[in-house]
Amino acid sequence: MSTRKKVLWWVGGAIIVVYALFPIAWIISISLKAPSDIANGQFTPTNVSWDNYETILTGSASDLFLPALRNSFGICLIATAISCLLAMFAAYAIARLDFPGKRLILSTALAVAIFPVISIVTPLFNVWRQIGLYDTWPGLILPYLSLTLPISIWTMSAFFREIPWEMEQAAQVDGATTWQAFRKVIVPLAAPGVFTTAIIAFFIAWNDFVYGIVLTSTEAARPVPAALGLFSGASQFEDPTGAIAAAAVLVTIPVVVLVLLFQRRIVAGLTNGAVKG
């Protein structure tokens, strides 16, 4: 490849990186601005100030942000775990067994995935209030399954289809017990698929906003996106911009770390699940 072409590729790559990171850089930049800098019309702060992080971690907004962070982690992890467990059995059946209804299950997953969330949430608002699930963890975990379960089934059955299941028998022929064959052969082959599915499902749950604002009212269950959306400062005289930016940065970091660590797997999971399914 000629040098000119190489340079072009590097320029193209650089444009993409700038495109992807620019808004992130911007929100980091605001989060480091002092209140006097917020309205200075500049991209960068004149002085780096950690005040906004103090506000949300130890200061006046910490009792809004920290419980929301705990709720988000807890609710999303539980919803992800449940949907991965259910999807694991379903995907195993879809990949390995031949039974009528396979297509029905995959089409249902697809239909649920494109379902407008708002159509689910308005009736739930009323029902949850009547049966006491409003503003509780289970009250969010259950509807979150409508977000995480379909994608888990799709992604995982795509992964499971590629597992060379004959190796299980091969191991048994070589003298392994059923359990050994499963644990030493199948589990290591299936684990990456399950893990990738879990990351993607977690992203989707972590991103939810609609369920979060409709089905919660206090810090008992309100997740981070909803808390951010409704955050209006500790007092009406305080501009919440800096604090929101700092909180936004903190909830974006775990996601960015996951992406950087597992980018190859996530791409494989998304493309397999959505197109090859």
Partner: protein, 319 residues
């Protein structure tokens, strides 16, 4: 679960298997299949079919939470009220506009990104891929805030950076009127969701046979001709699937609007209208009717795609 409604899938029995055991085996396999997949299937139905049925039921009542004693059955009256109200049509127009603009731009941009990811030098490929994934993984609310703060008249830098553009000055209030609000909402949506569409297209690109590309090249086709005559026709299924997914996703736009304008200046989408009726005004009946209408619209769009454009989801899944 009934399995009888579906035509039995063709089974290729192992040649060595004795004939008599096949039906027993398939019956037990069928039972095992449903035992394993049944719970997931049931949960999916429970968390979607049940709420939508509940919404259909509630949409038939005039019911306001602040006035529960006057709950009365009014039949289809709520639907009539909504469909004759300009608010509904305004929100449909906003939703359709945002959907068409974002999906069109994303398709072109996403295709470009997919080409770069497919063809880029080995050394920069991981960097590009990681960068692309970041907008996908960032919370929509965070992305909406970033874009809002950038354009906001007080906190933003856009006004001071782009004063050289006609119509932009230090006191351009982007969220002050309809057109510019929609523009910024679209920009935020495009930034956030282009990566997803580009990943779907990347998978489609991988399915285009390399032989065809080489043959076309040998025959003297230009890059542009190869793109239109070879690449795109061969990944039509992937393009259609990406379009379908993104269109339906764009049609539920809510988070960005909530954060950026809160529905001001006529920027309310259908989802936002349903939210406002139910949660802010506590009009359970009207809100449910909007939800049902949104659901029906989404189903119609999906059907139009599948029937009209002949999107075959199973072919796209490589079956």
């Amino acid at each position: 679960m009934t399995q009888t409604t579906l035509p039995p899938t063709k089974k290729t029995a192992p040649v060595s298997a004795p004939k008599g055991t096949v039906s027993d085996r398939s019956r037990s396999e069928r039972r095992l299949g449903w035992m394993l997949a049944g719970p997931a299937f049931f949960v999916m139905l429970a968390v979607t079919a049940y709420p939508i049925l509940q919404a259909v039921y509630e949409s038939l009542f005039s019911y306001r939470l602040t006035d529960p004693d006057n709950r009365a059955f009014t039949g289809l009256n709520n639907y009539w009220v909504i469909l004759t109200d300009s608010l509904w049509w305004q929100s449909i127009w906003v939703t359709v506009l945002i959907t068409v603009v974002t999906v069109t731009v994303e398709l072109v941009l996403g295709f470009g990104l997919a080409m770069v990811m497919a063809k880029a030098l080995r050394s920069i490929r991981p960097v590009v891929r990681a960068a692309i994934l970041i907008p996908y993984a960032v919370i929509t609310v965070v992305s909406a805030f970033a874009w809002q703060f950038a354009f906001d008249i007080n906190t933003g830098f856009v006004n001071s950076w782009f004063t050289w553009l006609p119509g932009v000055s230090a006191d351009t209030d982007w969220f002050g009127d309809w057109g510019t609000s929609i523009l910024v909402i679209c920009l935020a949506e495009i930034w956030k969701t282009t990566p997803f569409i580009s990943l779907l297209l990347l998978a489609g690109l991988a399915q285009v046979p390399e032989v065809l590309q080489e043959a076309a090249q040998v025959d003297g086709a230009t890059w542009w001709q190869r793109l239109w005559r070879v690449t795109i026709p061969n990944m039509k299924a992937a393009i259609m699937v990406a379009l379908l997914f993104r269109t339906l996703d764009a049609f539920r736009v809510f988070d960005s609007i909530f954060i950026m304008t809160n529905g001001a200046n006529g920027t309310e989408s259908v989802s936002f209208l349903a939210y406002r009726q139910t949660i802010a005004r506590l009009e359970i009946g009207l809100g449910s009717a909007v939800s049902v209408l949104l659901f029906i619209t989404v189903v119609l769009i999906a059907m139009a795609f599948i029937k009209g454009f002949k999107v075959d989801l199973s072919s796209a899944r490589g079956e």
